[in-house]
């Protein structure tokens, strides 16, 4: 009995938890306890799994004792367990954030109590997609997480959310249809859906059929990962959802698509036959996404655009190929999940503190909310790629790998990457200058409450004078504590810390990513651990 045989629990635990949480829908406290308990348990399990494969092992689990390629297999290797652990860390932080928000608002039992079960189902789907070692199981994982996300996105059923939800549901269903189409054609061509088996059999097909299957899969995953031109649904649908939901979606859902793209490109179609196309697409994703972000006035929409824009870096890494680029991609996925989720949590905090996430209505927050400013500032400059943070390290790795054997097209994309980084910084600085730095009274549409509070704090500072200079700060902290429950601040803070940890322990983590990348490119460990011969 190997410890890794427990890996299916990463899917099973959240599903049973969801059932229990649904049964306890009238007892809010019980429901919270179940959800947090289950997620903590999953987190411990996945930390153990990652530790077990840290050295570069891969381990296949054959469900029900059916040997591959006939039965369903799950794959625990460095890549899947890294993604599992990061996603669970993020979802636990968001869950604590949501719970604290719910505690502060006193949510009563009612239709809203569907949040916890749906959240756990979402996580089960994400875990299943990461662990799946056959294409159809991957499809099922996608469907589980998508169905849960439909529920979470339209929570409460307001007109705005229904409108946004419709776009989201229809686009997701179409992407699933394309994915299924690809699966049907792959099965017709090779007679298997097991990924290790496919890795052996797909190269035996002719160039034409290979290209069709390859592109079909990329389109299906590209919609999920929000790669331009398939990304326009994302900024339309994410921002209307409740803050915790947007945060967890931003972190996890698109990255499942990216994960699938990396697997497709390294395991199933390793030749790199569409790399030139991917390079162009990645440049467009980066630049158009960030230009969209610059045009927005709503902070959450702005973040949604930076989210799609930075997916471009990940596609860039995949398109460049090679051990260093893939390693940097994996590192950047981890960085991006954590940073983007923390920024969306901060957006939730800003909305709660100042009553709006629209930049034109905000101001004075640096004075009024010192802790919030810090929580925004660190992930923001991390996203902008300022050294020494993980965003810089990831981007540096990607560009360095690309520049090593670059043709003219790659140089253009490197330029696009640098431009995007700069424009991201500009977006972030504009938010900082408006939301935090300027006076609330100078806002285009001044928010009278904020203006009043700012005057109050300024008066207090003046009253304190030289003898008591911290009087104003004390009042600001008091005001902040009144509007933002400590649980929400600490949950966001812990995720910001996780982002810093990714920077501090960048050495060992990047080495691990390099081992994983070498394994992905070699393909051999994956194939031989699943197929019995």
């Amino acid at each position: 009995m190997n410890f890794l045989d427990l890996a299916p629990l990463a899917v099973v635990l959240p599903i049973f938890g969801a059932g229990a949480a649904f049964l306890a829908r009238r007892q809010v406290r019980m429901q919270r306890l179940i959800t947090i308990g289950i997620l903590t348990l999953t987190l411990v399990l996945e930390a153990g799994m990652l530790a077990a494969v840290w050295g570069g092992e891969s381990y296949a689990i054959h469900i029900g004792g059916w040997d591959s390629p006939f039965g369903i297999a799950l794959m625990v290797d460095g890549f899947s367990s890294f993604m599992l652990l990061v996603s669970t860390v993020v979802s636990l932080a968001v869950l604590l954030f949501a719970t604290s928000q719910g505690l502060a608002d006193g949510d009563e039992p009612g239709p809203v109590s569907i949040f916890h079960p749906a959240y756990l189902i979402l996580l089960a789907g994400v875990s299943n997609a990461f662990l799946a070692a056959d294409l159809f199981n991957l499809y099922v994982g996608f469907e589980i997480l998508l169905t849960a996300s439909y529920v979470l996105l339209t929570l409460g059923g307001t007109a705005e959310r229904i409108r946004a939800g419709t776009t989201y549901v229809v686009v997701s269903v179409v992407s699933s249809v394309i994915f299924l189409m690809a699966i049907a054609m792959i099965y017709a061509a090779t007679g298997t859906v097991n990924m290790a088996d496919l890795a052996v059999k797909l190269p035996e097909l002719g160039q034409g059929p290979q290209l069709i299957l390859h592109v079909l899969l990329l389109i299906a995953f590209g919609i999920k990962a929000a790669v331009f031109p398939l990304s326009l649904w994302l900024p339309d649908s994410y921002p209307t959802a409740p803050a915790p939901v947007t945060a967890v979606f931003a972190g996890l859902l698109t990255k499942v698509g990216v994960y699938a793209i990396v697997r497709t490109e390294t395991l199933l179609f390793p030749g790199g036959s569409v790399n030139a196309g991917l390079l162009v697409v990645s440049a467009l994703t980066m630049v158009i996404g960030i230009l969209g972000a610059l045009a927005q006035t709503d902070f959450k929409r702005m973040l949604s655009f930076t989210l799609t824009s930075h997916i471009g870096y990940l596609i860039f890494g995949v398109a460049v190929g090679g051990p260093l680029a893939i390693a940097a991609t994996i590192y950047y996925v981890g960085h991006h999940i954590i940073v983007q989720t923390s920024l969306f949590m901060v957006a939730g905090l800003i909305e709660r503190r100042a009553g709006s996430s629209n930049v034109t209505r905000l101001g004075s927050l640096a004075k009024l909310s010192p802790a919030l400013s810090l929580l925004f500032f660190i992930p923001a400059i991390n996203l902008g790629g300022i050294p020494p943070f993980s965003g810089f390290l990831g981007k540096f790795g990607l560009l360095h790998a690309a520049a090593q054997h670059a043709d003219p097209l790659t140089w253009v994309v490197i330029g696009a990457g640098l431009l995007t980084s700069l424009l991201t910084l500009l977006t972030i600085i504009r938010v900082w200058a408006r939301v935090f730095w300027r006076r609330a009274a100078d806002a285009e549409v001044p928010n009278q409450e904020l203006v009043a509070e700012a005057t109050q704090v300024a008066d207090e500072t003046l009253a304190g004078g030289a003898q008591n200079p911290r009087l104003g700060l004390k009042l600001a902290k008091q005001l902040e504590a009144d509007s933002l429950p400590w649980g929400m601040r600490y949950a966001t803070g812990s995720l910001v810390l996780a982002g810093i940890a990714l920077t501090v322990f960048a050495g060992p983590i990047f080495e691990f990513c390099e081992r994983v990348a070498a394994e992905l490119i070699a393909r051999e460990p994956y194939i031989s651990s699943i197929l019995p011969f």
Binding site: T154, I162, V170, A184, A188, V193, P239
Partner: protein
Amino acid sequence: MSVNITFLVVTGVLLAAGFYLVLERTLTRVLLGIMLLGNGINLLLLTSGGRKGAAPLFNPEVPADEYSDPLPQALILTAIVITFAVTAFLLAMIYRSWTLTSADELTDDTEDIKVSQKTAYDEEEDSPVAEDTTEFVDEEGRPVREGEE
């Protein structure tokens, strides 16, 4: 592998009609489109199993190559259940949308409209800087040094 060409043609028609309907703004038509897409894909999966054959229940008297392929059928069953769930959810959502707006059409995003009507001029960044805000030059534009006043 032998393929039933009728199935493929029907699949193509179903998918084409489905994608056409999905592009409509009316939500009920979108729903019909999604149902057509689901059926088309199921048919495609069925076709991917190859020729027809005996039911795939093990019988020692039937030689191995006379069974039909059971895997696509299992896939179709799963896909049917998923389409069913999504259809039910969409129906609920369409009903909710109809209750709220008494319309069956998808409207444009308000933020999108706002951004599309924005001009390139940004008051905060582009407005001319007032000249009399500096403390470092006097009225004639000479630099002010400490102790001169």
